[in-house]
Symmetry: C2
Subunit: 242 residues, 2 copies
């Protein structure tokens, strides 16, 4: 038990442990580590057992335990640490999950725009609104599938598909305005293309089809299509396809 009279000043201990002096002050404030002694001038003097305790604190802090929890734990070493850690791990996994989803969302947002073009706030809000709506109707797996298919298609093909939609909708709306019978061969032709475009989007997956349909029912045609499709046109198409 020699060397037991070794003492550390706060600056020394800070340097040795890689902490700041302020952090050691803070540790004292929250009660995880107090210097056992003081010099005549009121300076903190840490003993060897203080130093050991410091490394215990750092180990537990390293696991992400809050300092006050660590203080409790070190105050009564009999308390059950394993259950504390288990609860802690659950919290950590929730956090992990949260950041996974967030990262995923950010990835999808950035995918929605072509490379380095700068994005207007409005466009972004549009995309986010759309995403939020989608998240209400599609399952995580379905969103994953849709994202994959989009990647396979590539930006070019997607822009073309969007253009196709715009043209098809316009064509349908024209027949409707002309009062053409929905059962007329010309309209039936358009209905066929309509089905094809939907198939291309859903990839033939019946679950995705169902989610899509539910979204249109619940949110209304206008909102679900982000304004590209008027309810009357949808109505007309439904009659053509029935």
């Amino acid at each position: 038990m020699e060397e037991n009279d070794k003492r550390w000043r706060i600056g020394e201990l800070a340097e040795q442990s890689g902490l700041t002096v302020r952090t050691l002050h803070h540790f004292e404030e929250v009660g995880v580590l107090t210097a056992s002694e003081r010099s005549d001038a009121g300076h903190r003097l840490f003993t060897e057992s203080d130093v050991r305790r410091l490394y215990a604190v750092l180990a537990l802090r390293d696991l992400g335990l809050p300092l006050r929890e660590i203080a409790k734990q070190l105050a009564e070493p009999d308390r059950d640490l394993s259950s504390t850690l288990e609860r802690h791990r659950e919290r950590v996994q929730e956090q992990l999950d949260f950041f996974r989803r967030l990262d995923d969302k950010l990835r999808r947002v950035s995918l929605a725009f072509e490379r380095p073009t700068d994005v207007s706030t409005e466009d972004l809000l549009e995309v986010i609104g759309l995403m939020n709506m989608h998240e209400k109707y599609y399952t995580d797996e379905q969103l994953e599938q849709l994202a994959k298919r989009r990647e396979e298609f590539g930006d070019e093909a997607i822009r073309k598909a969007e253009q196709d939609w715009v043209e098809l909708i316009a064509a349908v709306d024209k027949e409707r305005a002309n009062g053409t019978d929905p059962k007329d061969p010309k309209v039936q032709e358009l209905a066929l293309r309509w089905r094809e475009l939907i198939e291309a989007f859903t990839g033939g997956d019946p679950g995705i089809r169902a989610s899509l349909q539910k979204m249109y029912e619940q949110e209304g045609t206008e909102k679900a299509s982000r304004g590209t499709l008027k309810p009357e046109v949808m109505e007309y198409m439904n009659r053509a396809m029935s």
Copy 2:
């Protein structure tokens, strides 16, 4: 442009948006959303455009952007949002990475103990100290490999291996104390078992072998073995195996 005179009181808006009144107060404090009007009594009156702005704020908050960043963005919609989002995503990925590692660490800690036994703080600190030392010498992949092999072996086999080590070390120490020549067949026999146990631990991986050896060199035999192996015994074994 009818209905443009519709106004929301703060409580109404809170309920409709699922926020608390305090949160809306806070939004005003940080400048992301201020009611455009006040009633004679000083009550906040939110206009339709305020409400639209609120949903824009929520969309951006949902991406994890800090409120002050959102305030800036909405103040000058021309500023480049995509680069802001890119920087943000980098931060998010760092967080994600941090929580992945933390979760991993907690998993390894809990694996180090058998089921629901309650863990003493001392034991835990021991394990964490060991883990921290390991992390200095093994790469992430190596730790992964080691963890996998431990799982394959199962708790039972590991306890047995630990027991084997204790006995082998004791046997070696006995010969050493007796002054037996390291080249003596009896000692050579022990050296063979020694190699076998190390092989079982490393799984024959030369990288892991090297890391293990480096750890013993840098940290010293006593510390690296967590006190189970005295330097003299190691020294003696080295001579036997050379």
